[in-house]
Symmetry: C2
């Protein structure tokens, strides 16, 4: 994985990357540290050399176990710097300067990682003011790290595939559980007799994910009816689960403790959702197929979004390319890369300025949707796919899209 | 809660706070948005006015439901700005400038939140260069937001207390489960006959937390023997759980989906850990009592750490105040604030430059520990406490510290 990064650093003319943050919150840091379970780290990556992580001494065992090149702040005189009793921002900047000095970090250098806005801004500003020879390069996204992460190795794909397999197991279980409910007064009722709540479904999913080493971070979307008409509404825990109404189930767990994601959505119903919802699902299916049909190695990632938009427009739905501010119809883009971040490059979006391309090795979602909250529903279908090194497109998702087919499959 | 912030902003002379990030990853943003379940937001907080959140249109329903003052980028000409096809950093900066212009944001202004290092740095630098009248104030920590969050309302304490109650339920369950194991060849063996692994214990804890609406983010520490000698080692999933050896169980779950934390640690053993480990636990208990004894309203938060250090030194253990770089003995500070962040102000640390004070309303941990990985163990005891508005110290943790007492309690 890191050879790829070295090649991209060379192309971009970067001598060093300086990354800050915790692997659990920064995909760049996770990638550079290859998943070492340390907390916050300062990572120095020189072109052609393995990364060096400066970690807290409390975490030296995790660093050692992961086989990192590592050091602790003590080796850079941290105690003497702290003993000066300077304001915290200055202490942090001095420590960072001591590290950069020791390793003779010279530009061009790019920054990466994730952190607190004010402290990070203060630290970088102070460090760059003190050491102009760092020649800070502001990389437009995708940065070289984001580009390196865009092309997945076989090992990364194997991990994503394994997350997908376990995610689909959980989707089977939850659909079966929902199907085992009775329908009474328009809502699903558990075999015991109690109405099923959205919160029950989410808890059920979360527990089954944990048992498979996955974590949904409490973010799974279970959005029935009108809720499903807002793409990011997560559903209301205390509400009952309706029958005869489309339910958007969007599940995107990550390897527990940090790592790779998988992302899939199914729209379910248990009963008869009506002609309009069925017609919208059919249109979404056409858009899905059109999106897939536009995927070729090297194609602009905007093209599949254009293709899906054209189909949905033909079906009479508003799209963002016709009405950029639309909040109904097809109001988002077709998909996004999936890896150490849930949303990463390539962005399958016709948004102006998007120059991402679908390169072999990319893993991404295709997820057209239609949103009509005033009509009381939303529809979305989402799979995670892999554009293989041989140029073939492989769907890492195996469950059928259509609610009835999915029900038949899990029974 | 927000009146407190207004008062602190006034004292500090801040006209505005501009916060960036997602409530799920920024406690400042969560606090300003009072827990609204939106994704990324740009939050404008003017002194004396409720915050305004700029959210993605996909999340408008969550914003509405939470009762926020909110808007979407569309209202600031986002589509026209995007249509320019500028580089991403410039697009983001232009949009932020449009928002600041519309709301006539003038300085002094402080930034808050959490985000990607490079993009955030670029955006703030561009915005400040364009609008010097923002008069950026670099706040030394604790910032006014961190100070506002330091003093908990009754409602916040009630939530932390509820997390604590549920956390202790899970600790009871897991101790009972461990106690139900047989001891065979120096390891714990499940009633079924299989050796218990660290990973089993972690999964058990995670599932029971989920069932109580809590999330440990895969970070719970189950660190037996030598692992426990490194304060942040999380334990190795595939390793068996030893008998007769101290096991550090450090559990710090958060309300699921984002919210308040609770933090507690117990050192357990099932059998006889030996004289040295027992003596270390006794010293840690003395240090705990000394730390508590030094807590009074308004005291420097360094003082309890000094008091605990003095006790441990008398017991013959290395401490950071005698050897700042020590990696054995008492190698961390006494505690930290607990709230929307696991580690927040006040910091109970004798580190130079720490000016935090323990004010009424603060919730924090007291967690002395001793670490001797070469001797094959670590010991830590941690409770979460509340310094009440009436000046009394209330321990929000109820389970006993000593392993035998804890076992007796849960049986």
């Amino acid at each position: 994985m890191l050879e790829q990064l070295d090649r991209l650093m060379q192309q971009r003319g970067l001598a060093w990357i300086i990354a800050l943050g915790a692997p659990a919150e920064s995909a760049d840091v996770y990638y550079l540290l290859q998943g070492a379970r340390v907390g916050h780290a300062l990572v120095l990556k020189r072109q052609g050399e393995p990364p060096l992580a400066i970690v807290h001494p409390m975490e030296r065992e995790e660093a050692r176990r992961a086989g990192l090149r590592w050091a602790t702040p003590a080796e850079y005189g941290a105690a003497a710097i702290q003993a000066l009793g300077l304001p915290a921002h200055q202490t942090a900047a001095r420590l960072m300067l001591a590290v950069l000095e020791r390793h003779q970090v010279r530009g061009p250098v790019s920054f990466a990682g994730h952190g607190p806005v004010a402290a990070t801004f203060a630290r970088l500003r102070a460090v760059l003011a003190e050491r102009p020879e760092l020649e800070h390069v502001l990389e437009e996204p995708p940065s070289v790290l984001q580009r390196a992460r865009m092309v997945k190795s076989e090992e990364e794909v194997a991990r994503i595939r394994a997350v997908g397999r376990r995610t689909e197991e959980v989707v089977r279980l939850v659909v079966r559980m929902l199907a085992s409910c009775e329908r009474r007064d328009g809502v699903l009722v558990r075999p015991g007799g109690e109405p099923l709540k959205v919160g029950h479904v989410k808890e059920y999913i979360a527990v089954e994910l944990i048992r498979r080493g996955l974590d949904d971070h409490g973010q799974t979307i279970v959005a029935p009816g009108r809720e499903g008409g807002f793409p990011h509404s997560r559903g209301v825990e205390s509400e009952p689960v309706p029958a005869d109404t489309p339910i958007v189930l969007d599940i995107f767990p990550q390897e527990r403790g940090g790592g790779y994601y998988f992302d899939m959505t199914r729209t379910l119903w248990f009963g008869e959702p009506g002609e309009r919802a069925r017609a919208c699902l059919a249109a979404v299916e056409h858009a899905f197929a059109a999106g897939l049909g536009a995927i070729r190695p090297g194609v602009l990632a905007a093209e599949p979004d254009e293709a899906a938009s054209a189909v949905l427009e033909r079906h009479g739905h508003p799209t963002r390319r016709q009405q950029p501010d639309t909040v109904t119809g097809y109001m988002h883009s077709l998909g996004h890369g999936v890896g150490l971040e849930l949303h990463e490059h390539p962005m399958l979006s016709a948004r102006p300025g998007n120059t991402d391309r679908l390169e072999p090795g990319a893993v991404f979602t295709v997820e057209p949707g239609l949103y009509y909250p005033e009509e009381g529903f939303g529809i979305r279908v989402e799979d995670t796919l892999w554009l293989r090194p041989d140029g073939e497109l492989e769907n890492l998702t195996t469950l059928p899209h259509e609610p009835e087919a999915l029900l038949a499959e899990v029974r």
